[in-house]
Amino acid sequence: MQPAPRTLSVERLPIRDERDVVVVRSRVRELAETLGFDPFAAAAVTTAASELARNAWCHGHGGHAVLEQISDGTRKGIRAAFCDQGPGIADMRHALEGGSTGQSLGLGLSGSRRLVDDLAIETARPRGTAVTIVKWARY
């Protein structure tokens, strides 16, 4: 067991419409730059944030994101939670394996998981989903 990482900063952003999705991803990119992420790690965490914020908006009928700068003593990183009050994820396994209930590719969740160091989902049908990701600055 690693000790729980320490939170250096925390902020909360609304996700009510598609413009908010853009705001969330810009802010995640800024945090990645502040923490000295290399361009690949920055693109990875920003893209995952974009996917998850969009899911909270379009599958979860909106919600909010909680963005944190964290440290485990040796490294710094970003923890981001995307929370909504929507219907929850009915078939978690299907969703994580790249399945989709919509018209799109179903790469949001499965792809995001491949881009970050940790991805955890809490879903409570019939109400709400929270997806939390962690990405550490490399080296």
Binding site: S26, S110, S112, L115
Partner: protein, 125 residues
């Protein structure tokens, strides 16, 4: 239809050149797509080069819009080349499991224009 798309569409000979620099949110992406297709029809363009070197991320939604646009123009008889994808964007898309299958790509605008002038009218993938 033109309204809602702030992304300029330039014409170079019989090819259209579009440079995407703003962060595409969902409705904007759709307006942009509709506008490109209408412009191809109106101007009788034989090819479309979409320069995405200004995009620092391309998520699965934007990737889908780009790939769909390429397929749509192909059905209309105009070929699309996506140029200038940054290394970190390419790495991210591949890591997510996304394959822009059937989409032609080139390093930059010049290479894209060259590709189009060498082989117009290829079949849809």
């Amino acid at each position: 239809m033109r309204s809602g798309n702030p992304i300029p569409i330039l014409r170079i000979k019989d090819t259209l050149l579009v440079t995407v620099e703003v962060d595409l949110h969902d409705r904007l992406a759709e307006a942009f797509q509709a506008d490109m297709l209408a412009t191809i029809e109106r101007q009788g363009a034989a090819g479309l080069v979409i320069d995405i070197s200004g995009l620092d991320i391309v998520d699965s939604y934007v990737a889908r819009v780009l790939a769909e646009t390429a397929r749509m123009t192909s059905l209309m008889g105009a070929e699309t080349v996506i140029v200038g994808m940054r290394p970190e964007v390419a790495a991210t898309l591949v890591r997510m499991g996304y394959t822009m299958s059937g989409v032609r790509t080139a390093l930059d605008v010049d290479a894209g224009l060259g590709l189009l002038s060498r082989g117009h009218g290829s079949s849809s993938a």
